[in-house]
Amino acid sequence: MAVREAVRGDSADGAAGSANGALAGLDDAKLAWVYLIMRRIRRFEETAEEAFRAAKMRGALHFYIGEEATATGVCAALDDGDFITSTHRGHGHCIAKGARMDKMMAELFGRTTGYSGGKGGSMHIADIELGNLGANGIVGAGIPIAAGAALGSKLRKDGRVTAAFFGDGAGPTGAFHEGVNVAATMNLPVVFVCENNQYGMATHADFANAAQISARGPAYGIPSPMVDGNDVFEVYATAAAAVDRARRGDGPTLIEARTYRQKGHTVLDQKNYRTKEEIAAWVERDPIERFRTAVIEADRPVIEDFDDIDAQVEREIDNALAFAEASPWPNVDAIERDVYVE
């Protein structure tokens, strides 16, 4: 796996460390980066939720809270030049791939300064320059696109790897199968990351998928490890191996990361399809808390920096919110712009 020393995160949001190396060998800078990213995701969404409930934004918001370790662990294993495809629940992937929270927040607010100039909203944020090929409102649809990015890399010999994030709900889609099978037949440099957060809306993953996702590897002749998606170290190590394999030209890996969405399907979800106990048990296993505990138990001095990181994230969040609220609404002249390259 290539070693990246590049600083992650965007300068507007302040400096951030980088993450690489084997699990045991994660240096302090990388641990700090992991913490920073996970905190950003958490706080970004908590803030968005408040804004939504204050009727400052509209549409659908899908929160990633509780799943931070998956996006963070996977993106920690990617190089800056690598690509990802994301989902309707895309804030976490976006932040982990280095996006600016101010432009994200502005997008949720529907403002011109947002990532998509207000045209996309929460479900449609991309940052091509950072390698984020985009969130997606269509379940499973990012998977063939990820295969395409990987095919492009293979043909252009650019040495890049693509990671495709998708949920357990995408497991049953034709897009999953077409994308994964094609990628496997062509030995493409892609890592398929199934975030099994137990549910797709009210539907349990085991109801939707006839067998567990990690049982699918043999159907495509590829490895399909299962990991604890709330354990950022395990996610990272597995993703790093998969990225390595992909970059070597040995083809795709299908990772099933078991995690949990602590919030409802959307910000409006009030449905009763899981027990309080189940939710509580998973909150117990909160990925950020577990990460903190692990760092403490390992007696790593970086723990001292975590308060600073918290404070930094609060500043970033305040900025992002102020930026979004102060930003102008798009002008209606823009409606038919950006449809085509002129």
Binding site: G59, G110, I138, P330, V332, I335, V339
Partner: protein, 341 residues
């Protein structure tokens, strides 16, 4: 938005006003009661009760053999409907959003629509596809399209859409009883619109348009949510002494061309109002037919009001401005009146 119901019986407890989503639920419930081979299949139709609550409570009443939850697999949902319909059931298959029908187009168009014809007219497919469509909800490009023109262009499908709870219930019941494949588009923004629905059973026939408001100066030909924009515009213009007739086609195929032509022959002017992208939308077919069949009756070109040539934008001011509304309808009506020859 209050709606003038023309074909409702006046003897009813006029008070019974229900949401369009409830009206649709009643249609499903009654038809399931009437015919044990009717069942509902789709994503989140059970525990969740449907993304727009149309099937809310039906799982509890009818059980999992009549309200069948599926994984996220739109091609399979379409195919489940086909296979079950071919073998003796009468399925109602739901797409959570019509936008997702892209995944199922082969099953809907190459399989469901063509089955009877390809195989020489022997099979029947008593199959209804339901799908929410339309914009106004801030759900952006992949959840708010109006793609009805695709389906109306496909022989073997019937395509319907309602503007009122009354029509929604009556049309859906007719669709379920059809031995043909019917695609029913339900406009998301009016699920929560209330309107009178009688207690007694009734059907609204497929293929019959409904004049939702009579007028003499200009005909507005429209459907689904835009009917309400047309009625709003008509109300405004009435104050200016302009008399607008609003024709709700209700069925895109078969299209009730007679009703449209009757109206246009009376008013001599027509505005076609629809929420899909204007270019290549179903309004083009309506306009093309009017000018062809009532050429000598027209005092002005048939105008079309449709959506901008863009995917649906998220941001509220953009989304609002992308779509027809009463003001745009009124402007087109005025323009039509100016075009006197």
């Amino acid at each position: 938005m209050a709606v003038t119901m023309r074909d409702q019986p006046s003897t009813e407890t006029a008070a019974r006003e229900i949401f369009m989503s409830e009206a649709l639920r009643e249609a499903l419930d009654e038809e399931m009661q009437r015919d044990p081979t009717v069942f509902v299949v789709g994503e989140e139709v059970g525990v969740w009760g449907g993304a727009y609550a149309v099937t809310d409570g039906l799982l509890a009443k009818w059980g999992a053999d009549r309200i069948v939850d599926t994984p996220i697999a739109e091609a399979a949902i379409a195919g489940l409907g086909i296979g079950a319909a071919l073998t003796g059931s009468r399925p109602v298959a739901e797409f959570m959003y019509s936008d997702f029908m892209g995944i199922a187009m082969d099953q809907i168009v190459n399989q469901a629509a063509k089955n009877r014809y390809m195989f020489g007219g022997k099979a029947k497919l008593p199959l209804t596809y339901r799908a929410p469509f339309g914009a106004g909800t801030g759900n952006a490009a992949q959840h708010t399209q109006s793609l009805e023109a695709w389906f109306a262009h496909v022989p073997g499908l019937k395509v319907i859409t309602a503007s009122t709870p009354y029509d929604a219930k009556g049309l859906l019941k007719s669709a379920i009883r059809e031995d043909n494949v019917v695609v029913m588009f339900e406009h998301k923004a009016i699920y929560a619109m209330r309107g009178h629905v009688p207690e007694h059973e009734y059907l609204v026939p497929i293929g019959v348009a409904d004049v939702k408001r009579e007028g003499t100066d200009v005909s507005v030909i429209t459907y689904a949510r835009q009917v309400h924009h047309a009625l709003e515009a008509a109300e405004q213009l009435a104050a200016e002494g302009i008399s607008v007739e609003v024709v709700d086609i209700r069925s895109l195929y078969p299209l009730d061309a007679d009703a449209i032509l009757r109206s246009v022959r009376k008013t001599h002017r027509a505005v076609v109002l629809y929420e899909a992208v204007r270019f290549g939308g179903f309004g083009a077919e309506i306009a093309a037919q009017i000018q062809e069949l009532a050429f000598d009756d027209l005092d002005a070109p048939v105008l079309r009001v449709g959506a901008a040539h863009a995917p649906v934008p998220f941001s509220e001011p953009l989304e609002r401005a992308s779509f027809p509304d009463a003001a745009k309808a009124a402007a087109a009506i005025r323009q039509s009146l100016e075009g006197v020859r």
